[in-house]
């Protein structure tokens, strides 16, 4: 044994080829990271075989670096603006331009089939470049909370689907004749091969082969080649008023499975949706912008495979509710979220409520009682999203009925109490019932009006599967039953050992320095933490930073910590790679922030805006407070900062 040398070149006796095969089964990014750290050879094999990468902040690396390391990527997810952008706290021009990435993708990423952009700025020109280079291969394009593009860009995407195709294996069943040749679009030659089975061929039997300079490259193999199956634009800001792109998509695409433009202002024509349903027989999920549901009666009859539908709207005129009752939903529909649905209309869900797995009631007009009536018919619910109008009573019903519930989101309703149901607030009573009733809960995000330590302890006792917990204490009630929440938070974190994402937004007095220390002490697995209005002093933050061994991303809002403490905490947290702060005690000249300056640590500062209207308009212009953003980066200082963002380090 003493003569044994760790001969890593041979990789412990495993050949390179074998290693590649084995690693092909290793998908988890953390496992992959571990693999890449073993030795250079393993690093190389991982690099060449890595299929998917998620870049949490696009400025942490450069497109070139990504390409040099992972040239064969098939799937890429890029995130731009800080999470706070979803709450209107980040200036629109902050950054997150996808342009440089698209150019690199067009040039070098020859295997890329799936692109997911989140909170980025995507322009029509970027889409043009992407589609030209990768349109024939793109299977999934998700523009999630993006901005900067128009319906012209969408038209380009829709037209690129003309090049859809499926290779078939047994040529003998089909004969093919050349219909078009040399159709030069987007710069490469295409053959359009029209295949006819034994009968007349509907539009979706249009097949295509892509040829480059080597026609022999593409044999008749079974499988799909680069055609858009997933197109998602959820919550993106897209300008333009025409619905041509949907029509083009319906005409050109035959394999679309998911189309999502939920929470956008895009216009949609029911006829185009019907055409889409006719041509895309695999359509499984459709989420649209606002369009009266009664116009979709035909659509629902055609889209027989539909499992998920979201959006639409109800615009019932006085005494004309019958038109909604005529709707026959597809037989497999189990995920539903209808906008502006009211008490009278919710009955259309009753016939299949028992089959519902996902229900989104965030944008409905239902009262507390309505929620109870509906949810008690849904014993198979796994995902539920509501506003706090559901109330404690509604949560009781959830606890009794929805035993399979995995994800629950309870959003914040209108502050104007006249518009929301009087019973519409969630408190410790509802949470305790929920914890005891829904033992499968993995994700819980809730806005509460009142809370106690006991409720959190209850969650710690029962919700053993909890991975993601977010609690926000609304400022509706002046007095909260039981503050500070130190002991409850401790019990929750101790009991729910699987928690990886944790958010706690309270009010002054909500969590003491001791409580903050508990969070640090008992957050062994937590990767992301958001905290607001917690702690009493710097001491709390420093205690917190002694723990949280795996904390990668920290967001703090409206806390009483000094720059100095923030800097010290950032230096001390061992896994921290991203820090966002808004609302803190600034040092006179901002010097203390630079205490955390170090190599590869970008520090950006967004100074408060001094708007004349600031003090009068309490609701608007929340952006006016100073923000700090710091993150590890291998790409150096940002070069595309707007005036509102000041890079402090590197200087």
């Amino acid at each position: 044994m003493s003569a044994r040398t760790l001969n890593r070149v041979m990789s412990f006796g495993i050949s390179d080829l074998a290693l590649e095969f084995v690693l092909g089964y290793v998908d988890d990014p953390r496992d992959r990271e571990a693999v890449s750290l073993v030795c250079k050879k393993w690093y190389q094999i991982d690099a060449l075989s890595r299929k998917h990468v998620t870049i949490a902040i696009c400025y942490s690396t450069s497109p070139g670096r990504l390409r040099r390391r992972f040239p064969n990527l098939e799937s890429l997810q890029l995130k731009g603006k800080p999470r706070a952008a979803m709450f209107n706290l980040i200036p629109e021009d902050w950054g997150g331009y996808v342009g440089p990435w698209i150019r690199e993708i067009a040039e070098a990423f020859n295997c890329l089939k799936s692109l997911h952009l989140r909170r980025m700025i995507v322009k029509d020109e970027d889409i043009r470049v992407l589609v030209k280079a990768r349109g024939h291969m793109l299977e999934s394009l998700k523009l999630d909370k993006c901005s900067g593009l128009s319906t012209d860009g969408l038209l380009l995407v829709a037209r690129s689907c003309r090049f859809t195709g499926i290779w078939i294996g047994s040529v003998g069943l089909y004969y093919f004749s050349l219909v078009e040749f040399g159709n030069q679009v987007f710069g490469f030659d295409i053959w359009l091969i029209h295949l006819e089975p034994h009968g007349p061929s509907p539009a979706h039997d249009l097949f295509l082969a892509k040829v480059g300079s080597d026609r022999g490259d593409y044999g008749l193999d079974s499988g799909e080649i680069g055609c858009l199956r997933i197109l998602s634009l959820e919550e993106s800001s897209i300008s333009g008023n025409d619905a041509k792109w949907i029509h083009e998509l319906a005409v050109n695409n035959s394999v679309l499975e998911t189309l999502n433009f939920y929470m956008t202002e895009l216009r949609v024509a029911p006829e185009d949706l019907e055409l889409l349903a006719k041509n895309c027989r695999s359509l499984v999920s459709l989420k649209i912008s606002e369009c009266d549901i009664s116009y979709l009666i035909s659509f629902f009859l055609i889209a027989t495979k539909l499992e998920e539908f979201g959006g639409g709207s109800f615009n019932d005129q006085v005494g004309d509710l019958d038109k909604y009752m005529k709707i026959q939903f597809p037989p497999k529909l189990c995920c539903v979220g209808l906008i502006f649905m009211g008490k009278n209309e919710m009955e259309i869900l009753f016939p299949f409520a028992a089959a519902l797995k996902k229900l989104d009631l965030q944008y409905t007009f239902l009262s507390t009682e309505d929620h109870c009536q509906l949810i008690q018919r849904c014993p198979n619910l796994e995902v539920l999203e509501v506003r706090d109008v559901i109330g404690d009573r509604g949560l009781e019903v959830v606890a009794q009925t929805c035993k399979k519930l995995r994800r629950l989101r309870i959003e914040r309703g209108d502050d104007d109490q006249g518009l929301e149901d009087e019973q519409g607030c969630v408190s410790q009573a509802g949470l305790s019932s929920l914890a005891q009733g829904c033992l499968e809960l993995e994700y819980l995000a809730v806005y509460v009006s009142d809370i106690t330590n006991a409720a959190l302890e209850c969650l710690g006792t029962y919700s053993k599967n909890l991975c993601d917990f977010r609690l926000v204490l609304l400022d509706r009630e002046q007095r909260i039953t039981d503050l500070p929440l130190d002991n409850g938070v401790r019990a929750l974190l101790k009991g729910c050992a699987k928690i990886r994402r944790f958010a706690l937004y309270l009010r002054p007095g909500g969590l003491s320095d001791v409580g903050l220390g508990y969070i640090g002490q008992y957050s062994n697995n937590v990767r992301w933490i958001l905290m607001g209005n917690i702690g009493e002093s710097d001491r709390g933050l420093l205690r917190f930073s002694q723990g949280c061994p795996r904390l990668q991303k920290l967001e703090l809002r409206s806390c009483c910590f000094t720059e100095r403490a923030l800097a010290m905490a950032a230096l001390r947290l061992p896994s921290l790679r991203y820090l966002w702060v808004q609302g803190y005690v600034a040092s006179p000249f901002g010097n203390d922030l630079l205490l955390m300056a170090r190599a590869f640590w970008n520090i950006e500062f967004i100074p408060p805006k001094h708007d004349v209207n600031e003090t009068e308009d309490r609701r608007g212009n929340i952006e006016s407070q100073a923000q700090i953003l710091a993150y590890y980066s291998l790409a150096g200082k940002r070069v595309d900062c707007p005036d509102s963002v000041i890079p402090l380090h590197p200087a």
Binding site: F87, D414, P508, S558, P608, T615, S624
Partner: protein
């Protein structure tokens, strides 16, 4: 004296003059002070006294009137957390006289800016939420007054998607009218 039946009033202590001056000043200078004046008259004085008790001093009207003119810069209502302002306030902690007219009596209290604003807030919520008072049985003191430091907290931010929904709902209800809550007229 023998001028017929005309009554002459002599303002020996110049109270009227100072009062007039203070009203003029209120318009120009301190939106806050005039706000307090109009709103405080509706608050329960016992409650107010119990809140401000530690710093309370009661003075005879004449002295109070004189003090009116000599008070320092009134608090500027800062509704958004500005770090630079906060650090200054923490260091200096200056107090200014707060004068309250109620039910024919006047009281002056020496208060730091943050406490003064809490009282303003308290009074406003007491005024606006009078119906909710009845439900909850009286005004609850804001948490901050129990020894803690008052902070001007940034308003809780709302998710964009919900913000849009709430705005749209308000729009629909406005269109439909206050009596047709569920049946909104479609806008085409």
């Amino acid at each position: 004296m023998a001028r017929g039946d005309t009554m002459v009033e002599h303002d020996f202590f110049q109270i009227e003059k100072l009062k007039a001056a203070s009203f003029r000043a209120a318009d120009g200078k301190s939106a806050a002070r005039s706000r307090i004046q109009s709103v405080v008259s509706r608050i329960n004085p016992q409650l107010l006294r119990s809140v401000i008790a530690p710093g309370a001093t009661e003075m005879p009207p004449e002295k109070a009137a004189l003090l009116l003119s000599s008070s320092s810069q009134p608090p500027h209502p800062v509704t958004i957390l500005n770090p630079s302002i906060r650090s200054v306030a923490e260091i200096s902690n200056e107090t200014a006289p707060l004068t309250i007219f109620y039910n024919g009596s006047m009281a002056v209290f020496d208060l730091p800016r943050d406490k003064a604003e809490t009282i303003m807030k308290l009074v406003e919520t007491a005024n606006d939420g009078s119906s909710s008072d009845q439900r909850k049985g009286g005004i609850r003191l804001p948490e901050e007054l129990d020894g803690g430091k008052i902070q001007e907290l940034p308003p809780m931010a709302r998710r964009k998607s919900l913000q849009r929904f709430i705005a749209k709902r308000k729009q629909r209800l406005t269109v439909a009218g206050p009596y047709a809550k569920e049946k909104a007229v479609p806008k085409r």
